[in-house]
């Protein structure tokens, strides 16, 4: 069925179709509409789920932690400072191997107080053992949310998932999307299996017990291996979902005009669409450039980055988040994979919701190509900031 929905409502539709059993809710802009919409669905009986209102984000995640340990399929959502307030519980859930699914509607961290998007909030959790996906448009927000249950609950994975979507740009923008029927989803996403364990009343069971050092490390190694296995599962789920719906994205990355590209652009999130339009313009002008869109930052698509960036002349990375004192986060991760094999330029832009137009991508991609063409031994050691109203870049 074709609908025109905002990203937040599309998520609620995906949660309903996934037959989620327990939802915890604590409001924060720009996430709030997701849990409001789910509250309406539970109230009307459209969705048969336990809806738990809690006193904080920390409790929101704790509530679904317990429910997931009890065998339920669960959901919660947050943004920005709410996600940071969840930080401790994020690790409890990942280290307990529970397939919790959460939406993170990305929003800048204060001060200054700002409700608009950047990727800083979602990327603070990249080391915690959560699978982290970034969507480009409302359709993909919906698709990734539904797929997250299949991926997280796979017995070869058993890790929680976060689907990140840009605050307002996707959460509040209405676009057309295709929604599969309940029977199509039911045939593809069976009820959750009681894995990795299920706590039941009357049965003694310890979760998060005292662990000997060697066991603790071994458990981390299991998470490491599960994250490695998740790469294949994400690809498989993308393919089978493609057979179901006609939409296949390419697994961990989307490859947009990269096959014969001399120059590769890396980026993720909603502005990837603006980058694609820029690449179309540049292709028409004869520039051999393509976009390798990062769909999942965890597990990180190392193989795709090597495959497409090593043969290229140079790589340009746009980051909507920065590691202070180091550089753009995606750029840092990509260059640690490339290890100097291909020159890489890191550009930080769009923090605090600063808008980037397709035309601005055209200009800055051209400048990057010209810099390389003028000096093929160029080393972009700086992190370039695209400040509006002046600045470097």
């Amino acid at each position: 069925m074709r609908k025109v929905l905002i990203g937040n409502v599309a998520i609620a539709e995906a949660v309903k179709l996934a037959r989620v059993e327990v939802i915890s809710a604590y409001p924060i802009t720009p996430q709030t509409i997701i849990v409001e919409k789910l509250a309406e669905m539970v109230d009307s009986g459209e969705l048969n789920a336990k809806y738990i209102r809690v006193d904080s984000e920390h409790s929101a995640l704790a509530a679904v932690y317990g429910a997931s340990a009890g065998g339920s399929r669960v959901f919660t959502a947050t943004s920005s400072h709410g996600l940071l307030y969840m930080y401790e519980m994020l690790w409890w859930i990942a280290n307990s191997r529970l397939p919790v699914v959460m939406s993170v509607v990305t929003r800048s961290l204060g001060p200054p107080w700002n409700i608009h998007t950047d990727h800083q909030d979602a990327l603070t959790i990249r080391d915690a053992g959560w699978i982290i996906g970034f969507a480009e448009n409302v359709q993909e927000v919906f698709d990734m949310t539904l797929q997250a249950y299949k991926i997280s609950e796979d017995k070869r994975v058993l890790l929680p998932s976060i689907i990140a979507l840009d605050g307002f740009i996707l959460s509040h923008t209405a676009e057309p999307l295709e929604i599969p029927s309940q029977s199509e989803v039911d045939g593809w996403l069976p009820p959750r299996e009681p894995l990795p364990f299920v706590m039941k009343p009357g049965e003694s069971f310890a979760v998060g017990n005292l662990g000997p050092d060697e066991v603790t490390m071994e458990l981390r190694w299991y998470i490491w291996r599960a994250m490695e296995r998740a790469k294949k599962i994400i690809e498989d789920v993308d393919k089978e979902y493609g057979e179901l719906t006609g939409r296949e994205y390419g697994g961990l990355t989307e490859k947009y005009r990269v096959d014969d590209a001399d120059y590769i652009v890396l980026g993720m999130g909603s502005w990837s669409g603006d980058m694609k339009e820029a690449i179309d313009v540049l292709r028409d002008e004869g520039y051999k450039v393509g976009l390798l869109r990062i769909r999942y930052v965890r597990p990180f698509p190392m193989e795709d980055i090597l495959k497409y960036c090593v043969p290229a002349k140079a790589v340009l990375v746009y980051d909507r988040a920065v590691s202070m004192g180091y550089g753009g986060i995606l750029a840092g991760e990509a260059s640690s994979i490339l290890r100097g094999k291909t020159p890489l330029k890191s550009v930080v832009a769009g923090l605090g919701g600063v808008d980037m137009r397709s035309e601005e991508f055209v200009d800055s991609i051209k400048r990057f190509i010209e810099e390389y063409e003028m000096d093929k031994d160029v080393e972009w050691l700086n992190t370039y900031w695209l400040l509006k109203g002046g600045g470097e870049g």
Binding site: R2, V4, I6, P30, I115, H116, N137, D166, F168, I169, L170, H172, T173, A174, E175, P176, S270, W271, G273, D274, K276, E277, D280, D355, M356, R357, S358
Partner: protein, 185 residues
């Protein structure tokens, strides 16, 4: 990009007038006709009465970009008071077409074309008042659909039924029908 028709619109409204909803109604109406559309609100510290911007893109191919709209082909101004509060020339390019909620021909010049519709009177006549404010969104959406050729009246009315139900839907539908027929230049 496989799209021969691609247009961008700007809505300037005041918090409470329903500018964001108007944009969503139009995106929904355009999608009924097989078009691609995006309704993008610009949120800040909005409150009742503050000037709110919303954007709308319509195309016959998929729209990939998500940035704000900078060069609107058409702009819809939900309250003629807004023209006293901002320099419209800084927000809307001169080659755009304007549609203004006004009881008479607005005293503004320098645009490709200027249309007006008395959406406030239409809203009041159809009992579309919330907390003392006439809610002009469906009347304005309908007038926009006609002036900017975004969708047919039939599609607009169908979209309105997705956003409002029962008696409220009926009031909004009659307001939209009247606005469609009473937009002037």
């Amino acid at each position: 990009m496989g799209r021969s028709m691609y247009r961008e619109f700007l809505i300037l409204s005041r918090g409470g007038q329903g500018g964001v909803t108007a944009s969503r109604i139009l995106a929904t109406a355009a999608a009924y006709e097989g078009k691609w559309a995006q309704a993008i609100p610009e949120f800040g510290a909005e409150r009742r009465g503050a000037i709110v911007k919303s954007y709308l893109r319509v195309s016959n191919g998929v729209i990939k970009r998500h940035s704000k709209v900078y060069n609107a082909d058409g702009a819809s101004i939900f309250s003629s008071k807004i023209l006293e509060l901002i320099d419209i020339g800084e927000v809307v390019p001169r080659n755009a077409v304007l549609l203004i909620n006004s009881p008479s021909k607005p005293g503004i010049e320098g645009y490709r074309d200027i249309y007006y519709v008395d959406a406030t009177r239409i809203a009041l006549d159809h009992g579309l008042v919330i907390a003392g404010w006439p809610v002009v969104n469906t009347a304005m959406a309908s007038a926009m659909a006609r002036v900017f050729e975004i969708a047919s009246l039939e599609s607009v009315l169908k979209a309105i039924k997705e956003f409002f139900h029962g008696e409220l839907a009926e009031k909004n539908i009659s307001a939209a029908q009247e606005a469609w027929n009473k937009v002037y230049r």
